[in-house]
């Protein structure tokens, strides 16, 4: 395992090194996957990343991370997306790790972080419930302290990777009398605990990536409560900013633009002025998204905190990408109705998967309606 001082390295040199590693090491057949991949499909790649010491780019070095600063972290993500490096079931690395490092106690860090880094613990995120989606604070799954264990009852839904996960981090209600946001705690549990049932749910592509998880008298040790009781909401919220900037990166849209161009050339559309105008409009949307992303990235690089205006990045990135996949479908003509890899004069191109995958990007991570509510309330200061 390499432990290097990345801070000493110049950004461009770092970019090239990361790029080279992805190009040489990432399995070609997994590039730009049509949907999220399972642990079985990505495990070998993850182990390679781990061996390289690159499994947790944002974690500090003392916990086995790369300790990248904001600027290098963004480069890392950009290069990943540029090369079409598939995501692994990485909730433990991306969400839980940083939360534990910030709010967890020493025992929790020692018990959880190394096993999470090595891929022995695979985590899923149990936040949403059937009746608590946009209104997450309305969650009803309940945990009651019984001796040195919490007993959990309720159900979580849309839990990505629940089938692969060995563990779950979960928001539960621990005080029913308090205000909605103030009675929520953050717990961890093992997925093989008695009382847990996982019902996989097929998505629009016909693939099982998320699930409903039922919890029936599930016991988890009280030492697995992170932070203080009833502070789960504040801790979970504290991590949202970075999620929104990474979802706002223009790289996915750039990949979409390339695909659109590929299909349009096949169809002879680059000679049609009306099409070319719409294409250029999207090119500019992607370019200007990049400029907007740059503004927020600079704040991250300086180590600053992101304000509520970062919500605009999520709106721009996801909706631009959706429009790109829609125009690609349209450019494909009659083949826009065909599933799977479609033969374009001998060139196989999957038109529908990106179109489908772009759909939920405006739903998860706080729907775009919710992001607009945040912007109108907290940025435009409109009455409401």
């Amino acid at each position: 395992m390499q432990t290097r001082d990345w801070d000493q390295m110049d950004d461009e040199a770092f970019r090239l090194e990361v790029r080279k590693f992805f190009q040489q090491q990432f399995p070609e057949h997994l590039r730009y996957p049509p949907h999220h991949l399972s642990w079985a499909q990505t495990k070998d790649w993850y182990k390679k990343l781990y061996a390289q010491g690159w499994a947790a780019p944002a974690w500090p070095k003392e916990w086995g991370g790369m300790g990248l600063n904001g600027s290098k972290m963004l480069i890392f993500i950009e290069e990943q997306e540029r090369h079409g490096v598939a995501r692994t079931p990485d909730m433990g690395i991306i969400l839980l790790g940083p939360l534990l490092i910030r709010f967890g106690n020493e025992e929790q860090k020692k018990e959880i972080l190394p096993s999470t880094l090595s891929g022995d613990f695979i985590w899923c995120q149990g936040y949403s419930e059937p009746n608590a989606g946009s209104d997450l604070a309305g969650l009803k799954t309940e945990a009651v302290l019984d001796g040195d264990e919490y007993v959990i009852n309720g159900s979580k839904i849309w839990t990505s990777y629940a089938m692969d996960a060995t563990h779950m981090f979960i928001l539960v209600r621990t005080d029913k009398a308090a205000k909605k946001q103030e009675g929520i705690s953050f717990l961890m549990l093992r997925m093989d605990t008695p009382g847990i049932t996982v019902r996989p749910i097929k998505n629009l592509l016909g693939v099982e990536v998320f699930a409903q998880v039922f919890l029936d008298n599930v016991r988890t040790p009280a030492r697995w409560l992170v932070g203080k009781p009833n502070q789960g909401w504040t801790m979970a919220k504290a991590l949202l900013g970075f999620e929104r900037i990474s979802i706002g990166s223009p790289k996915l849209a750039q990949a979409g633009l390339e695909k659109l161009e590929q299909v349009a050339r096949q169809q002879g559309l680059m000679k049609d002025p009306a099409f070319v105008d719409r294409y250029n409009q999207l090119r500019l949307d992607v370019a200007d998204l990049g400029s907007t992303y740059g503004r927020f990235a600079e704040i991250v690089k300086r180590g600053g905190t992101l304000g509520p205006d970062v919500s605009m990045l999520k709106i721009l990135a996801t909706e631009t990408y959706q429009r790109l996949t829609e125009l690609t479908l349209e450019a494909a003509g009659d083949a826009g109705g065909l599933a799977g890899k479609v033969d374009f004069n001998g060139m196989p191109i999957d038109i529908l998967s990106p179109f489908y995958m772009a759909r939920p990007s405006t739903i998860y991570g706080g729907s775009n309606e919710i992001q607009r509510n945040i912007l109108s309330k907290n940025v435009l200061n409109l009455p409401g």
């Binding site: 608590a132 946009s134 494909a332 009659d334 083949a335 109705g337 939920p360 509510n373």
Partner: protein, 373 residues
């Protein structure tokens, strides 16, 4: 009986079929199967008379016209049934009756009307070509008929008994009826977004007798062009059915789904969105209605109306499908939620016979914008 009464009667009949003979569960079970539809249900559709609506009375049909077929197809589309009613009973039947082989019409049209023959028109070769004359498949005159060679795509349905294949002959485009087991014909399928299949044909010197030529070189392009344009208008009616039902389902969901202690339908952001979708649906209805009115008086404007209808209905259908998913939230991205089935059918119908963009281009060519004075 007035046309309105006839249409209402037809709609009610489809309503009966929807309640009795099909269901979303059946639609789901048939997805990705081979051929992807049910011949027993097809027979019931024929018994109801819908396979013969556009077939002349002398050939065993009802001899009705587009508005009646549109009424049936709009209601039928709401059920998401995979049976290829429009492709067979409009496109194939109209191609046959637009041809110039009366003996063949007398032989095949009664079988289509009776539901005994499922014929698919194979005219398209590339992804965005809707000009029936722009083809490469050739028809060489051979002893007592023609020999066809070339390839075809997007023929609906896969699993047809016979294919009506267009090809370039000496004097123009001909249409030939090719049996599914003809020597030299290979039929593969391509899967569509909604789990139904289209046929991809390879023709390697397929022999067709004169008696099986649907339309000769003088009549082929026109017969096909007319049949395709009429079917395109009817595909607009199908899209209208799909989008209407999708919007109903979504409005119902907005009334019942509660977040922040109130129905999500009470949020103005979603209300305005729903109103915009409603307006798109109404525009689709308007243009279809107007197409019927105008075509009854001026059949020459068929291509123009077909493009107007298909541009609007494709766009509206896709938009209502997409935004319905968004309004449903997470559950909208699941296979078990029906709304996704409507989006997928809208995707298939809007891509079929030329999507919105293809028809906007054709509209512009048929009705050039007035030059500035």
């Amino acid at each position: 009986m007035s046309q309105e009464d006839t249409n209402q009667m037809l709609r009610d009949a489809v309503g009966g079929f929807a309640a009795r003979d099909t269901s979303i569960a059946r639609v789901r079970a048939l997805r990705e199967t081979d051929p992807g539809f049910d011949r027993a249900v097809w027979k019931k559709i024929a018994d109801a008379g819908w396979t013969g609506i556009l077939v002349p009375e002398k050939f065993g049909g009802a001899g009705l016209s587009l508005p009646e077929m549109a009424a049936v197809l709009e209601e039928f589309a709401k059920t998401l049934s995979p049976e290829p009613l429009n492709a067979v009973s409009s496109l194939a039947a109209l191609t046959l009756s637009g041809g110039d082989n009366e003996a063949l019409q007398a032989r095949l049209l009664p079988q289509i009307a009776a539901g005994d023959l499922i014929a698919a028109v194979a005219w398209q070769e590339s992804e965005s070509g809707i000009d029936p004359a722009a083809i490469e498949t050739t028809a060489k005159e051979a002893a007592g008929g023609y020999a066809l060679s070339g390839s075809k795509r997007f023929a609906v349905p896969f699993g047809a008994d016979a294919y009506l294949v267009s090809a370039k002959g000496q004097g123009g485009v001909i249409v030939a009826c090719v049996d599914k087991s003809a020597k030299g014909l290979t039929v593969d399928s391509e899967l569509r977004a909604d789990g139904t299949r289209v046929a991809r044909l390879k023709l390697d010197n397929v022999q067709v007798a004169k008696a099986d030529i649907v339309a000769s070189a003088g009549a082929g392009a026109r017969a096909l062009g007319q049949a395709i344009d009429q079917t395109t208008i009817l595909a607009g009616a199908e899209l209208l059915g799909v989008m209407s039902r999708a919007l109903e389902i979504t409005l119902d969901y907005m009334r019942t789904r509660v977040q922040f202690d109130r129905p999500i339908g009470s949020f103005q952001a979603l209300q305005h969105r729903a109103v915009d979708l409603f307006i798109q649906k109404e525009l689709s209805f308007s243009v279809l209605r107007d197409a019927h009115i105008h075509l009854a008086q001026d059949a020459d404007a068929l291509a123009l109306w077909a493009s107007r209808v298909k541009s609007r209905c494709s766009e509206a259908g896709m938009r209502i499908g997409r935004e319905s998913i968004q309004i449903h939230g997470g559950i909208g991205f699941t296979d078990e939620c029906d709304i996704g089935l409507y989006l997928k059918r809208a995707m298939v119908l809007s891509a079929w016979l030329g999507n919105g963009a293809v028809h906007r281009r054709r509209y512009a060519a048929l009705a050039p914008a007035l030059e500035a004075a």
